[in-house]
């Protein structure tokens, strides 16, 4: 199936998504990688407000290259999501609904996704120029000292993504290879 999805996402619509579906995502997406996740969790530990509203939000695991004059951002493909596994359940329990990255997730993350009706969408790893084409605006939110890992607010239009893990825990990284091996040749 192909879905058009807007952020903030309708929770009922997120539940319709199945691993393997295609999604064109539009709206606001925040960037955060390892270091920013660590700081967000530390802020939550101290009872402080995180740098952006987590409830209903979408986070993209990306550290873009510097923007040339003609674009708002440089190459902007996903980084490996597994490095965020230690932090993601905390963010999901605080309201995060959409995670965007590449590669498999831990059982703890899948459990937290099921608990909160969240989805994990895959961008094409290594396709930095292609993924950047759907980003219309980028502005710094905080933690500029982290360089490429700083938190940025992106406005995306029709970002081409694939549902990697759905809100019921179905995992394309398990289902896809199995389906190919049973029917592929």
């Amino acid at each position: 199936m192909e879905y058009i999805l807007n952020v903030p996402a309708d929770t009922e619509k997120l539940k319709e998504l199945r691993a393997g579906d295609s999604v064109l995502l539009s709206g606001t997406v925040y960037t955060a990688r390892d270091a920013a996740h660590k700081r967000i969790c530390e802020a939550l530990d101290r009872g402080e407000t995180p740098p952006f509203e987590l409830a209903g939000s979408a986070v993209y695991y990306v550290g873009p290259t510097p923007a040339p004059e003609s674009c708002c951002i440089g190459a902007a493909g996903p980084t490996t999501s597994g490095r965020m596994d230690a932090y993601s359940p905390r963010l999901l329990d605080a309201g995060l609904k959409i995670m965007i990255g590449k590669g498999g997730r831990s059982k703890a993350v899948k459990d937290a996704m099921r608990r909160n009706g969240a989805v994990y969408l895959a961008a094409i790893g290594g396709a930095g120029a292609l993924m950047a084409a759907s980003i219309e605006q980028a502005e710094l939110v905080c933690w500029e000292d982290l360089g490429c890992e700083a938190v940025r607010k992106l406005t995306v239009r029709n970002m081409p993504l694939t549902v990697a893990i759905d809100s019921e825990g179905r995992d394309l990284y398990e289902i896809g290879p199995k389906a190919y091996l049973s029917k592929g040749e």
């Binding site: 393997g20 270091a35 990306v62 550290g63 873009p64 290259t65 510097p66 923007a67 040339p68 003609s70 674009c71 440089g74 190459a75 902007a76 493909g77 980084t79 490996t80 597994g82 590449k102 590669g103 498999g104 895959a122 094409i124 790893g125 290594g126 396709a127 930095g128 120029a129 292609l130 950047a132 084409a133 982290l146 360089g147 490429c148 694939t162 394309l172 990284y173 289902i175 896809g176 290879p177 199995k178 389906a179 190919y180 091996l181 592929g184 040749e185």
Partner: protein
């Protein structure tokens, strides 16, 4: 004795950093296009097509192919009849600094592995220096991303493990890597030497063009067998399933100790980037 100015080395390294990050080597692009033609699984074919589109888009917009513009691995083949006017290591690092700045490449290096503060200019480069015959200087820049580097592994096998042990370790490493290293991957395998040399051989294997099999027939056969094995895992492009899990595999070897069989597997992604120049 031939003199080469360090300033020329700096300028060359800067140009190679930019070129390597914006243009995929022809052999790698050709391997992606061929894989698309031979891929039986529709979703996998679609992704391989998008990878070619990405390469074209990067060239058109002067953007890096991938946002992880890597650590700059710089291989220097220095002819013993060359005299460098200036400081070679400094020139290489200044070249990396200049190239990553002017090319709008990402600065991804932290100065200390545990205290983790970004150096801000992508230095230091990872330099491998080799003395060769003659009066030429050859420089190869390979920007190495860490999505794939993180999935690499090394094992000290026993001689009794033999070639079967090597095959199992390579396949286990690729299976454990799964979708993380941005498949279709390129695999460099180093066999022999010592703990450190095996890792170096695996990295060096990634420099060999994908359409050049090992010159030793025995290892050329082993390369083909391992590549076929990897492409039977079903992992596929991006780990979503399909035939094309790897675009190529190269083995480099070295004599080793009677008691040992070191094996290293260095994984690279579909954006296996390298550019070279001779001065």
């Amino acid at each position: 004795m031939r003199n080469i100015d360090a300033g020329l080395i700096k300028k060359t390294v800067a140009q190679l950093c930019i070129k390597a990050n914006r243009q995929l080597p022809p052999d790698v692009l050709e391997a992606i296009i061929n894989a698309e033609k031979n891929e039986p699984w529709p979703e996998a074919r679609r992704i391989l097509g998008l990878l070619s589109d990405n390469v074209a888009l990067a060239a058109e917009k002067c953007l890096p192919i991938c946002q992880d513009t890597g650590m700059a691995c710089v291989f220097v083949e220095l002819g013993q009849d060359v005299h460098i006017e200036g400081d070679l290591e400094k020139a290489i690092n200044e070249g990396v600094r200049l190239g990553y700045d002017e090319g709008l490449l990402r600065k991804s290096v932290v100065g200390d592995p545990l205290r983790r503060v970004n150096t801000g200019d992508n230095t230091p480069a990872l330099i491998s220096l080799h003395l060769t015959q003659g009066d030429k200087l050859r420089i190869i820049v390979m920007p190495k991303g860490f999505g794939s580097e993180n999935m690499s592994a090394l094992k000290m096998l026993k001689p009794s493990d033999g070639v079967e042990g090597v095959k199992k370790f390579v396949l286990d490493t690729v299976n454990a890597a799964g979708a993380n290293p941005c498949p279709p991957i390129v695999v460099g395998v180093g066999i022999g030497g010592s703990f450190d040399k095996a890792a170096y051989l695996a990295k060096k294997a990634l420099l060999r063009p994908l359409n050049e099999p090992n010159k030793d027939e025995y290892y050329a056969g082993l390369e083909k067998e391992l590549l076929d094995g990897i492409n039977a895992t079903g992992i596929g492009p991006q780990g979503f399933g399909g035939r094309t899990t790897a675009l190529g595999l190269a083995i480099e070897t070295m004599p080793t100790h009677v008691a040992g069989l070191p094996v290293a597997v260095n994984i690279s992604c579909h954006a296996t980037r390298r550019a070279s120049a001779e001065l």
